[in-house]
């Protein structure tokens, strides 16, 4: 019975069917299934599958985004149940995401946020045009292990360095690790500004984030 439900859960994520995912999550509660099992044996299987397919070039960004959204919706239904049980889903880590000051591009960053939360990270997405003090302030406030910064413009990518320098000055590294991303961002740039890593796409960003928090 539950095996069949798990399969349907995974499938709802793969197909990006948010409504179905929510219904299945509710059904699992009615059936007294353990919410952690529902997540790990059901929904996460779907997220992992779509991530793998994306990596192979067989799934595309809209499918990835819709899967991420469906996953978030399902987890939102299950989280109160976990709390009731006094348990929590094993959290991968807390991340603050932002597009740097002067830059309003956020497609890539939002996608990374969706994938990170679908993969079990707690994500605070500050949005676009965020100055260093706001990004760092939020990271301290929520005790984040990771900061992810996006910049699409060559004129704004320098802001990533400013945030890293500020973190260093405050002695907040390596406690807080930094990932950088965006169209003009290369591995060389990430090394040059002493970031902890960069990734070409959202699936890679999840792998990188897991590595940086030691949960590979």
């Amino acid at each position: 019975m539950s095996e069949e439900l798990y399969k349907q859960m995974a499938q709802s994520i793969i197909e990006g069917e948010k409504e179905t995912a929510i219904e299945l999550a509710q059904k699992s509660i009615e059936l007294n299934m353990h919410p952690l099992d529902t997540i790990t044996k059901g929904f996460v299987v779907g997220v992992n599958y779509i991530g793998d397919q994306f990596g192979k070039g067989e799934a595309f960004l809209p499918e990835l985004v819709m899967a991420g959204e469906a996953m978030k919706a399902a987890v939102a239904v299950l989280e109160p149940e976990l709390l009731k049980l006094g348990e929590a889903r094993e959290m991968m880590g807390r991340v603050v995401l932002a597009t740097v000051e002067g830059d309003i591009h956020e497609i890539g960053k939002t996608l990374v946020g969706t994938m990170l939360s679908a993969s079990g990270f707690e994500v605070v997405d500050l949005g676009v045009d965020q100055p260093a003090e706001k990004i760092i302030g939020k990271a301290l406030e929520i005790d984040a292990q990771l900061i992810g910064m996006s910049a699409l413009l060559t004129t704004t990518m320098v802001r990533q360095r400013e945030v890293i320098e500020e973190l260093d000055k405050e002695g907040l590294r390596p406690r807080i690790k930094v990932m950088v991303g965006g169209a003009p961002i290369t591995k060389d740039w990430a090394d040059k500004i002493k970031a902890d890593g960069t990734s070409e796409d959202a699936v890679g960003a999840v792998q990188l984030a897991k590595k940086l928090v030691g949960k590979e």
Binding site: L61, I104, I107, T154, T155, V158, A183
Partner: protein, 493 residues
Amino acid sequence: MQPKLTLLSDEVLPRIVDEAYQLMLKPGIKVQNAEARQLLAEAGAQVDEETFVVRIPEQIVKTALSTVPQKFHLYDYNGDPKVEYGGDMVQFDPGSSGVTILDPDTFEHKTTETHDLVKLIKVAEQIPQYDAQSTAVVCDDVPKDIHDLYRLYLVMLYSKKPIVTGAFTNTTVHHMIEMLAIFSGGLDNLREKPRAIFDVCPSPPLIWSNFGAGNLMTLARAGVPAEIVSMPLAGAAAPVTLLGAVTQHAAECLSGITIHQLAKPGSPIVWGGAPAIFDMRKGGTPMGAVETAMIDSSYAQVGKSLGLPTHAYLGTTESKVLDMQAGLESGMGALIGALSGINMISGSGMLDSLLCQSPEKLVIDAEGIAMAKRMLGGMMVHTETLATGFYDQNINFKGGDFLKQKITMQLFRKEQYLPTNIIDRDSIRGWKQSGGLDTFGRAKVRVKELLASYTKPELDPAKVNELHSFVLDLARKAGMDKLPEHDLSPQTA
């Protein structure tokens, strides 16, 4: 007869314009510049000062459209009109805002500095297919605060052609206008005979940022032409359908024109863009995709239906090297742009989705442009009879008969575009004898030749000094005591 590509039917085109007007009311346009919001409110638009969303009624836009010039020119250093915006004129300029340059020997994409931009200007200056220069790359060896105006400074020193440029802030656009005015002999002369046009970008979807709207108003008041570069990304920052993206483009441009004309009616502005489909695998913006070119062609058709001058980003590629992908995407883009009658087509020389410039690609792209322009010339009727008149008493039913005809000598240059040696039409033997080079190899040779044959433009030394002092002063304020060394000699690259 200029051949013409039109992708929009008579049925669809008015629907695009109609829905664009609807978008300006719902959801409205987000205008992040207070002064622009005020202008719009005074004209009768409904402004929400909390969300910055402005609902712009059709009538305000139509009034703005009625004052936009349908045609204007850009002038060269000497004050001669060289670029015509309006109608079906088709012209090209190198792509701009690159940050790297392709090293032709190592294939590295190197961060660009002063000497790289100078090299690109020298090459583009001597290629007739480039009707205008562009401020092609930013120079990493000067402070960020002067990145935009320093590019313009170098182009003004090394070129006499009209210039397609753009400012990065609301402050520097004033500086750049002043720089141009130094060479034009005052702001009035600059307005009379503008040397440059400034790209101004809305942010998809449907946003005019503080900086974008600010630039529009400043340029309008100075009477210096503005070129709207709207970039809907179909499937991410715009509807996934190509027609949806074209409609969003129209709404972004129409709202921009409205802000611009409210600041100063009658100032020149161009219906342009750099849209793209959104690549669903890599999240990139493929400028060389055929669908991207289809969006460009279609929005140009919309702009033309409104009587506006047009611009697009085409003739470029995602490829990282000068390979077949670069060639086929750039060539197809240039041809589609030309057949769409787009007044200014930017993008030549660029690789890697507008990030990387290449002088070698500039010389190769020039051949694609020349072919596209030949195509635009169409099938010409040069002679009274189409053929029969050629078959006179000297015809011996031999190949070569026509080579002996005087009319062949008279007309072959009109009928055929005669390519440079970038295009190989040699025999295998001849090709081997001349080094057996591929297109890229031949382009490297050609770039070296062009750098050697470059001669510095004769400019008024007093104006050059004034410009130099002006830029040096701004550089000092930005924390740089001395501008980077660059020489005006012909030999060095």
